[in-house]
């Protein structure tokens, strides 16, 4: 919101106060100022001048030769504008004056010399109007500095709207002036209004408020005999500097009042409305707003009606059917207070946020409605002396906010701020903000002024803020708080995550990446990734490509891989993130912590990468939980990036913790057919739930271990784990450990078989094994193997 210092000065005497310093203090005490614009700095030396003569330019059809009287001399200049006539008084830039930051010099155009220029409003920087030269009032003195006449010089500061969200009272200059008065300790001047008691005997405006839940107050008045159509120039300059376009006197004044008091108003052409009703529509309707758009209005939206014809969307925008036009000579002025939630909801439904709705949704002070009308009449009279008021100020005050009183003590305030303020100083601050204060012993009873009582100030904490900010946060001395120093241990789940990240980055040279939590449909298509499109969707994504939440980490990691593969021969990446699933469509989603890892290499074979991946998985399990997992064929392949040939589930205690797979070749070929890619995904929630197995030291046996190698012939296709299963099943008492020593494959000698050599280490805790015992053990093993059709080489 733009605030004009000239406007503020209407209400607070700022003589002797450095304005920039003041703006800085405003930032520290009230709200953030985002920028300062100094108007008028680029304009200088412009005077008023009278047109004496207008002649044709011999060498140009567009230009004319103008002679102007500047009071003490006659100057010749060239002018392209066609709107001037002899006798008009205009702003004139002599040679040496400054316009838009440039110095005016003597110029020659089509053989004629111009010693200055007549200026338009745009050239003066006071409006967008560049249609012709600005014509000043006919009674204007000639030869005076234009800045004596027009408030071109002004300092505008822009307040961050977000920081005013909770301050409905600051949505107009008068409220800001009140704040500045409190900060500077100066007095706030009374607002000049037209008391309308004299009209009390006139007829009421024909108004009926039917929806008293949504319309708190509706004030209105009728005025006739409008003759003028233009607001005085200095007020128009203020509107322009504050970001408003000038339209017509009646409309400009409603805007002026909104910027001054924060109260939105609406002016209807009185000849077009008779019988005002305020009620919500009981069905969906269509309605043409004054911007010319036909809008679909939802049932339940609060509207203003003329009998049964809608004429305005309450608090948002008026209708085309009743708007003020050039022909308007009488008006019905509305100044109302609507429920903030209702206006905000309607504006969101309609996707139509206007200045008015932005004000209303802040919960405006209902006390403002009649004051706004009185102020409007006052300013209208100044601009159009012959207006006639034809109704009384009709005021329907349907719903009142409760008055708020808060009891508080000095001790409470001081303890929350951490300062030692006297009661007197506290009272002084509150009174400067127009809070009522009653003192009863230690208890202060604070009456909240209406303009702060709509939602902003309702409890002790709010008063603490008022006092602290006016006292000045800068004046509060930092204080330590005694506290026991107990260092907090890293949480177990965090430790697991940290360990995994370190392991992958430090030992396996992988890079941690962050990806988005939604799939990218376009890339899925490019890479051939198929996902469950029925998974949880974003309801309002700005981009339809990104509206399905991820159910797996792998697709987004594949996008990342795809981007990086052109720069690197090996890409190892991982992300520890969240994936999302529906337990049942529409229910609250289940969020799972998940680790995704991708290993990709142009030099290493798929097999090497798979073994590296298994090593990673084993390290993760061992490092964090001291557990060993097993790899098992995947029964139901859930995702199309999992290879039907080379993939396995990671199993612990009969539960799947995730999977490892070669990237399915269809997708791999789309990324790069010359590389090998392996993907791993681990459910970290499941991993975190596993208890750490504590290791215990076991004493060495004093006796000699015996190592025996056994070679087994088995089908090439068959898994090592089948041998393990056999070994586990025989449960040899003396078996200390066994390990894979060699795998031998030879198409000629062994055809479709392979020979696997396992080294068994036998050891007893309490005696040296006899050769008989050893042979016995071996025999059991061999029998078991052969029972399963694994031929043992003797």
């Amino acid at each position: 919101m733009y605030i004009s210092m000239n406007w503020i000065k209407d209400f607070v005497d700022l003589n002797g106060i450095d304005l920039e310093e003041l703006i800085n203090r405003f930032t520290l005490s009230t709200a953030e100022v985002e920028g300062i614009i100094k108007h008028g700095e680029n304009i200088g030396g412009i005077i008023t001048a009278k047109i004496l003569k207008i002649e044709k330019h011999p060498g140009s059809d567009k230009l004319r030769i103008i002679k102007v009287d500047t009071g003490n001399e006659t100057i010749t200049c060239l002018c392209g504008a066609k709107n001037i006539q002899v006798g008009d008084i205009v702003p004139f830039a002599k040679i040496g004056s400054i316009v838009d930051g440039r110095k005016i010099e003597k110029v020659e155009m089509a053989g004629q010399v111009s010693n200055g220029m007549c200026l338009s409003e745009k050239e003066l920087g006071i409006s967008e109007d560049n249609s012709g030269v600005m014509i000043l009032d006919e009674n204007t003195e000639v030869g005076i500095d234009i800045k004596k006449l027009l408030d071109i010089d002004d300092i505008i500061f822009e307040v961050d709207n977000k920081s005013l969200t909770n301050r409905p009272d600051l949505w107009g200059h008068y409220g800001i002036a009140r704040e500045i008065a409190a900060i500077t300790g100066r007095k706030l001047k009374k607002l000049e209004i037209e008391e309308l008691e004299n009209y009390n005997n006139l007829k009421d405006v024909n108004v009926k408020v039917e929806d008293t839940e949504k319309c708190y107050r509706y004030s209105s008045i009728e005025i006739e005999n409008i003759k003028n159509n233009k607001l005085d120039i200095n007020k128009r300059i203020r509107l322009y500097y504050c970001g408003m376009r000038s339209i017509s006197l009646l409309v400009d004044l409603t805007n002026y009042i909104m910027l001054e008091l924060g109260q939105p108003m609406h002016a209807y052409d009185k000849s077009l409305v008779n019988n005002i009703k305020v009620k919500s529509t009981d069905k969906d309707i269509q309605f043409k707003t004054l911007d010319g758009n036909l809008r679909n209005i939802n049932k339940g939206t609060l509207m203003i009606w003329d009998n049964d014809t809608p004429i305005s969307i309450a608090g948002i925008m008026g209708g085309e059917n009743s708007e003020i036009t050039e022909k308007t000579i009488s008006l019905l002025l509305e100044s109302a207070n609507f429920d903030s939630v209702c206006i905000r909801k309607s504006a969101l439904d309609l996707k139509l946020r206007t200045d008015a709705s932005a004000h209303y949704e802040k919960s405006l002070d209902p006390f403002l409605t009649d004051i706004a009308i009185k102020r409007y009449i006052k300013l209208l009279e100044e601009n159009d002396k012959e207006i006639r008021i034809v109704s009384n100020l009709t005021d329907i005050y349907a719903k009142k906010y409760p008055e708020i009183e808060i009891q508080i003590t000095k001790e409470y305030i001081n303890s929350r701020i951490g300062i030692e303020l006297s009661e007197n100083r506290i009272i002084e601050i509150l009174k400067s903000l127009e809070f009522g204060v009653e003192q009863n012993g230690k208890i202060l009873t604070i009456k909240v002024p209406s303009f702060r009582a709509t939602k902003d100030v309702s409890m002790k904490a709010d008063l603490v803020e008022e006092i602290a900010r006016i006292y000045g946060y800068d004046n509060i001395k930092p204080q330590t708080k005694e506290q026991s120093l107990k260092i907090v241990e890293v949480e177990e789940d965090k430790k697991v995550e940290n360990t995994i990240k370190d392991l992958l980055a430090i030992k396996y040279g992988a890079s941690e990446v962050h990806t988005y939590v939604w799939y990218d449909k376009k890339r899925n298509k490019e890479l051939g990734i198929e996902v469950n499109e029925d998974n949880i969707k974003l309801a309002n994504s700005l981009n339809a490509n990104f509206n399905v939440l991820r159910e797996s980490m792998i697709p987004s990691l594949l996008y990342t891989l795809n981007e990086n593969i052109k720069y690197y021969s090996d890409v190892n990446i991982f992300e520890s993130g969240r994936i999302f699933k529906y337990p049942k469509k529409g229910e609250n989603c289940v969020e799972v912590k998940s680790l995704g890892v991708i290993l990709c290499s142009k030099n290493k074979s798929s097999k090497e990468l798979i073994y590296k991946g298994i090593e990673i998985i084993n390290s993760i399990m061992e490092l964090n939980k001291n557990i060993k997992v097993r790899m098992k064929d995947i029964k139901n392949i859930k995702y199309n990036w999992i290879s039907p040939v080379n993939s396995a589930e990671i199993i612990y205690n009969n539960d799947s913790l995730g999977y490892i797979s070669e990237l399915n070749i269809n997708i791999k070929d789309n990324i790069n057919n010359k590389t090998n890619i392996v993907v791993i995904e681990i459910n970290l929630d499941k991993l975190n739930a596993i208890k750490v197995i504590n290791k215990k030291y076991e004493e060495f046996s004093k006796y000699q271990p015996v190592e025996i190698d056994i070679s087994v012939l088995m089908d090439k296709e068959e898994k090592y784990s089948s041998l393990e299963k056999c070994i586990d099943e025989v449960k040899l008492k003396d078996l200390l450990k066994y390990e894979l020593v060699d795998i031998f494959e030879d198409d000629k000698k062994l055809q479709n078989k392979k020979s696997i050599t396992i080294r068994f280490t036998l050891l007893s805790k309490d005696h040296t094994l006899s050769s008989e015992e050893i042979n016995n053990d071996l025999q059991v093993l061999i029998e078991k193997f052969e029972e399963n059709n694994y031929y043992v080489k003797k």
């Binding site: 930032t27 903030s340 802040k362 904490a461 946060y473 907090v488 890293v490 941690e512 974003l538 981007e563």
Partner: protein, 342 residues
Amino acid sequence: MEEKLKKIKEKVEIQISQVEEINSLEKLKSEILGRKGELTQILKNLKSYDESQRPKIGKAVNDLKRLIENKIEEKKQVLKNQELNKRLESEEKVDFSLPVKEELGSLHPITIVQREIEEIFRTMGFTVEDGNEVETEYNNFEAVNVPKYHPARDMQDTYWLENGQLLKTQTSAAQNRIMKKYGAPLKAIFPGRCFRNEDLDASHENTFFQLEGMMIDKDISVANLIYFMKTTLSEIFKKDLRVRLRPGFFPFVEPGFELDVSCMYCEGKGCKVCKQAGWIELCPCGLIHPKVLKMGGIDSEKYSGFAFGLGLSRLAMMKYGITDLRLLNSGDLRVLKQIGIK
């Protein structure tokens, strides 16, 4: 006898000097000093000498034996050195200046910054909590004093899910749950990924990281908040910073502040980074709103507390001099590999 020993000595010295390998030296040693060696033989036959001569001869032989042993030992050392030198000469000379393949991977900048900050807070007794990414409307808004249709909802464009849940717009969404979990007094931080439904540019991301903290105890004041933030931020930036509070509106705190720190680049003198202001807006904070405490099950008359939010993404950018926020989510290894592990 003397003559004999002298001859032996001369002969042996020549032999030793001619040896070129350690193995031959060992062989020579056993030839000369072994059981069959001349000297041993003399000692064995000592009886054949005149009794008065025996001690003298015995001593002379033993002396010679020791002398020879020393000589052999010396020679052995020489040969060993020669052999070592030879091996060194034949050893392959490695070029230490050759580039070595990078084996270390990298951690995400957010991870690194987050760990540093978590560590600082842990030493001050803060528990580190983990929030969800998908939240209920209640936790994200209602429980932090932003009722439906409150204009404050405009401050954050929300990603709504079709089931009525949302992607959390702020780490504050975890406040309610944490208060209910621990009660008062309470010290906790909760870092996490947040989402805003907006278009991307160099300073806007729809996915970014925040870290929020709360401290609740008896009689916590604004003065405590200022002290705490000043010390903690100085610790984070490893620099003695000044802080200042400005009014700021955040529905879950009352009073609410924007906290500025003196610019760490120019020490507050004014530079490009702080846009000549000398201050950098860093962190929203404030005393926790009594309604928020109440909804978290904490007696707001008995306890007060403060909450603050730090932009982890922003801190990571500041730490590494990254100027485009989007790079953090780009997964571009050309960026991330530069960061390494620290």
